[in-house]
């Protein structure tokens, strides 16, 4: 396999940024802007999941925990402390990263892997959901409403264009973080731990530290997605924040696109989003139809293209060569 070149990766990211920024600045159609915004939002979550699941090999089923923590901190910092949303955003990211480190410290320290890690993260998210339902400062089951104060200074925009640019900024940061994992010593250690933990330990890598770094990074970006959700929809409740569907969306998009790749999660999120939009136009606003697609695509990808959309090209070529040779 060819080593990914840093220069090529950065060039691709720059091209992507320019193309999407053009849409954000010049597109006038609400449908186009809304689609771009929501697709970018899905990209961010998929890329966040990929940082830990793809490059670290740790399959979390509870990323909603980090999403919800980011969302609640964003909302509570504005409501309770009267903080400007721009200042709340880094707080939300830090809080989510801290939650990630907490979960990681507990589960990686005891060597939980594979299915057990998946289950324990799911359980952590459930605990958070039940707590959010029961305590006062989250507004309980009623949820929290963030006041509408349109204006760039308040991180709320009249049109979708502003949100597209904000989201694009976050996605580019996530892409750069992925790029860093591909080309840094830390990333090399992380991938070594993913591929063979014992061998990595034997050459002096500390698996716990590496995995903690990855889950902190991953959770931080997931928290940013949560904060973004609050800014766009001005509302959060325990089911939205900590419900399992957010975890599922993030992991399915990443897996469908291709784990441990730079563009796989972007492709996966985009493809699933297009598919869900198309069926919604075909079948109307049926509840659950987009999730049926998510589930079915996940099964088909795991069955027939275990390396995702990014791996499909390679598989096709290999098959072609085997047929001929």
């Amino acid at each position: 396999m060819k080593m990914p070149s840093l220069r090529r990766d950065l060039l691709h990211i720059a091209a992507f940024t320019a193309a999407v920024a053009l849409v954000g600045v010049f597109a006038r159609s609400g449908v186009v802007l809304n689609f771009t915004m929501m697709a970018l939002y899905a990209c961010l979550m998929a890329q966040a999941w990929n940082l830990l699941g793809g490059y670290g090999g740790q399959f979390s089923f509870g990323h909603a925990l980090f999403f919800g923590t980011g969302a609640y901190v964003q909302a509570i910092a504005q409501l309770g402390a009267g903080l400007n949303p721009w200042l709340a955003l880094p707080l939300a990211v830090l809080a989510a990263a801290a939650a990630g480190l907490g979960v990681g410290a507990l589960s990686f320290r005891w060597g939980l892997k594979g299915s057990y890690f998946a289950l324990v993260t799911l359980a952590f998210a459930e605990v958070a959901r039940i707590l959010a339902l029961s305590v006062d400062f989250t507004g309980g089951g009623v949820g929290l409403m963030v006041p509408l104060r349109t204006g760039a200074a308040h991180l709320q925009f009249a049109g979708r264009g502003g949100y597209v640019l904000l989201m694009l900024g976050l996605v580019v940061l996530a892409l750069l973080a992925t790029c860093w994992l591909r080309h840094s010593r830390f990333g090399a250690r992380l991938q070594a731990v993913r591929d063979n933990e014992d061998a990595a330990r034997a050459v002096g890598v500390d698996p716990l530290r590496v995995k903690l770094g990855a889950i902190g990074l991953s959770a931080g970006f997931m928290g940013a997605a949560g904060a973004f959700y609050v800014q766009v929809f001005q509302y959060i409740d325990p089911a939205i924040a900590y419900g399992p569907h957010t975890s599922v969306e993030a992991l399915v998009a990443a897996i469908v696109g291709g784990l441990g790749t730079l563009w796989g999660p972007v492709l996966g999120a985009l493809a699933l989003h297009l598919l869900a939009d198309l069926t919604r136009n075909l079948f109307g606003q049926l509840p659950g139809i987009n999730m049926v697609i998510y589930g079915a695509v996940l099964i088909l990808i795991v069955m027939f293209a275990p390396r995702g959309v990014m791996g499909l090209g390679q598989s096709a070529r290999a098959l072609w060569e085997r047929r001929r040779g």
């Binding site: 589960s107 998946a118 605990v127 339902l133 509840p287 659950g288 589930g295 795991v302 069955m303």
Partner: protein
Amino acid sequence: MFAFEVLFPSILNGLTTGAVYALVALGLTLIYGVLHIINFAHGAALMMALYGVYFLKQRLGLDPYLALPPMVAAMFVLGYGLQRVVINRASHGKDENILLVTLGLAIVLENLALLAFKSDTRTIETPYTLATVAIGPATLALPKLVAFGGALAACAVLLWTVRRTDLGRAIRAVAREKQGARLVGIDVDHVYAMSFGIGLACLGAAACFLLPAYYVNPQVGNGFVLVAFTIVVLGGMGSFAGALLGGLLVGVVESLGGLWLGESLGQIGIFLIFIAVLLLRPQGLFGARA
């Protein structure tokens, strides 16, 4: 804290709820013990079984307890087919893949149910739905008492099957040493599918015992998934007696949690136990150290 008159009914109630949990978890622990896979679709399969019992009652007027044989048979066939047609083919020999495929199945089944039946919560009425039995200061719902007996019986049947029948011997052989079992002529794929079928058949039975006093909606399985996993982990993966004990314990914890912390916060005890056991004693409270 609380007087005997309050604690005793609460514990008894927890035991009967726990018996149904155990019934749900028995199938899961069999699937884990043999296939070494975590079946995320277990809750969704239970949801389907509950709809099955519901429609048998509403459309054909079949009493839930009389629906036991057809439901067990139908769920067995479903499980056998799912394992052979979908899960086995998708696994490529990797645990993560099975985890993802069963997760995908759960999402598809749950949302298909949402499309077909809306999110309405449905219940059925039987002559004994509200019947009660007095035990000391406690008043117990009759359907829960029947479910308690059903869980014990199902546990006994499973133990007998695994210990005494040819199929059971094959299941144990495959669970212990897959390649060796294949070498002595055991059809491993068939044993896998049988185990998955039996695992889901337990859910068919569980649904028949649950519905007279419970409800069904497309999300109903979610509430059971983590509870069932908690029990399986608590009882030691693959142990039937452990699943039964674990189920009863979880039922009591939930009941007492609800008593002290209130309805919504009470459930948190289950998840905290789950996390604590996974972190501190992943081989289970009743399992041997691996």
